[in-house]
């Protein structure tokens, strides 16, 4: 490994250190789980999902300040303008694909049958693909296997749930969101607890010296 490689390795290791505490997984997991539960159990209250980030983002920030920064230090990742542009492009592409495929289904099968089939079997797959973008971006940025797995679960869930007749349409999107969210939350809690055990706070470390 030459010096330039070493620099890249140190950078990556430092970036990974900022999400080693599991708080990001807990935030994402809780958000997806709540989103899935609300849409599965009480779809009319779906608008409440807009409030989740208002609660979960400050909660994550509190956990970072209270438990993570005193143990491993504070670092703010440099702004990545490419990421914002990528998200805008992905959202526009998603909308285009949604409208395009809906158009093709209704053209070939007629409006009633085409739209119904599109919504029951094709929409969950598209939803899964769209929801996989976030974890995929995180996985690519930090080169972390677990985030690739979350992305893959979204894609697989979107395809398999309707095909296996477990759930279709909006219900399939809500169910896959709840499943991946639950897994991410459990994983985040395990990571967080192991992080606390591995990194005693500076004060307790000094007291034990």
């Amino acid at each position: 490994m030459n010096r330039a490689d070493t620099m890249g390795y140190i950078e990556m290791k430092a970036m990974r250190a900022t999400i080693r505490d599991g708080i990001t997984e807990m935030q994402l997991g809780a958000m997806l789980l709540l989103f899935g539960l609300v849409f599965s159990l009480a779809p009319p209250f779906g608008v409440l999902c807009g409030l989740f980030p208002l609660v979960l983002i400050p909660l994550g920030s509190f956990l970072k300040h209270r438990f993570a920064y005193p143990r491993v230090g504070y670092a703010k990742i440099a702004r990545q303008p490419h990421a914002v542009r990528g998200i805008v492009i992905a959202a526009a592409a998603f909308l285009a694909v949604v409208l395009g495929t809906l158009g093709v289904f209704t053209l070939i099968l007629g409006f009633d049958h085409g739209a119904a089939l599109w919504l029951s079997h094709f929409f969950p797959a598209l939803g899964g693909l769209f929801m996989a973008i976030g974890p995929w971006v995180v996985a690519q940025t930090y080169r972390l296997m677990r985030w690739y797995i979350f992305a893959a679960l979204f894609v697989l869930g979107g395809i398999c749930l309707p095909l296996l007749n477990i759930a279709t349409g909006y219900e399939a999107v809500a169910l896959e969101s709840a499943i991946v969210g639950g897994l991410a939350l459990i994983h985040g809690i395990i990571l967080f607890l192991s992080f606390l055990r591995q990194h005693p706070s500076e004060e307790s470390a000094r007291a034990s010296d």
Binding site: T6, G8, I10, E11, A17, Y69, V72, G73, Y74, A75
Partner: protein
């Protein structure tokens, strides 16, 4: 004789290497800072695995060269030292990295 020409170019490149950055501990500090907008002293301490005194001394040298900017602030009455790579520091690291890549490619 392309090989000789490349070797001569590499020697010229090597002579222009920024020795302030080339030192392993300072290179590690700058590599960590490159990925972040800002980082505090504790974060750098954990990532570079240097001693407090050593890190402090290297940071002073980098600050004197204008490569990093060091500020102190209080968060909930606790002092925190924030370190940021300056624009000239970022340029210097990029130049160093490109030059090292050129030199290694020609060996």
């Amino acid at each position: 004789m392309p090989r000789t020409r490349e070797t001569m170019d590499a020697a010229v490149d090597l002579s222009g290497i920024d020795r302030l950055i080339h030192e392993p501990a300072r290179l590690a500090i700058l590599s960590v800072l490159r990925a972040f907008e800002t980082a505090d002293f504790l974060f750098l301490l954990k990532q570079t695995e240097l001693s407090r005194g050593n890190l402090s001394s290297h940071l002073s040298k980098l600050e004197a060269a204008g490569y990093v900017d060091i500020t102190k602030e209080f968060v909930a009455k606790v002092p925190r030292t924030l370190i940021r790579l300056t624009d000239s520091g970022r340029r210097a690291v990029a130049t160093y990295r490109a030059r090292m890549n050129r030199v290694l490619a020609s060996l």
